[in-house]
Amino acid sequence: MGCARDIVEHCGIPRFVFTDFPLGNPTGRPFDPECQRHIVSMGLDLLERATAPRTTVQSPYVWSPDTAWKDKVLTKAQPFLDDEAKEKWLDRKAAYKELRSTGRA
């Protein structure tokens, strides 16, 4: 069960329940047990009935009435890390590279 359709299908797995929600909600909308039950149930249906690998089903749920939320993901407007975190990350990467190049890591 997951939300990143392209990554999961690029890998290739036996059975997949895809839900078009923001990453972090692979098994349903928070505090919506009905939605979660349905998605889990779709997974069990697949366990019972799928006949071939790479069987994907998509749950019927939409996160919000429009797709504006998708524009905020991994874009300039909303990067994976904020500027400060990115700086730190880049510093650590540089330090690690240095260690590697001198054979210390």
Partner: protein, 184 residues
């Protein structure tokens, strides 16, 4: 005078908006890393995928759960629902914990969508309550006594040669008939 091809009429059932498609995470991540000057990440990719039909009726099957969520570690910094990405809260070895124990699983160590969601409900990313309901209803035979945690490291080698075989070993030890993987 026509300026080019036009749709002859509006479809009887209106189409969804053109951009209403699953996010292309690989493309966006690639662009993001490239902008930072890194070599493109290679995602796991197989043209062949395994498939084993369920060997027992679902109502008798023992199901194991595998998660990428991490047990809360008091010393590992902010792991709250609004915590920024916290690599310090990662774990590097497969772990297992009883499904009937007290659970405190967090996902501050992974890149979930912090712009659009707040992980305050465990069952949105680790459906233990929902699975327990399914057991109670008789639809599946039961859960294995333990669930398992899969480390989210960026080494394909470690994932494939160390973590995956260890997860498989534990699922077999628990006599699981099926496994549900839930990446958070």
């Amino acid at each position: 005078m026509s300026a080019g091809p036009v749709a002859s009429s509006r479809p009887a059932i209106p189409f969804a908006p053109e951009d209403d498609v699953p996010i292309r995470y690989m493309e966006r991540t690639r662009a993001y890393y490239q902008a930072l000057g890194f070599a493109p990440y290679r995602w796991a990719h197989f043209t062949d995928a395994p498939f084993t039909p369920l060997a027992v009726p679902l109502a008798r099957a023992r199901v194991a759960l595998i998660t990428t969520a991490a047990p809360f570690q008091p010393e590992a910094g902010d792991q709250g629902p609004r915590a920024p990405y916290n690599a310090g809260a990662k774990f590097y070895q497969v772990y297992s914990a009883p499904v009937d124990g007290k659970l405190d699983l967090r996902i501050s160590h992974v890149g979930y969508d912090r712009a659009n969601t707040v992980p305050e409900d465990l069952d949105a990313y680790f459906p233990l309550t929902r699975m327990q309901e399914v057991v109670a209803s008789g639809r599946i035979g039961g859960l294995t006594p333990r669930f398992h945690g899969a480390p989210t490291n960026r080494s394909h080698r470690v994932t494939m040669e160390t973590d995956a075989p260890e997860l498989l070993r534990r699922c077999r030890e628990d006599r699981a008939d099926a496994v549900v993987l839930v990446p958070s």
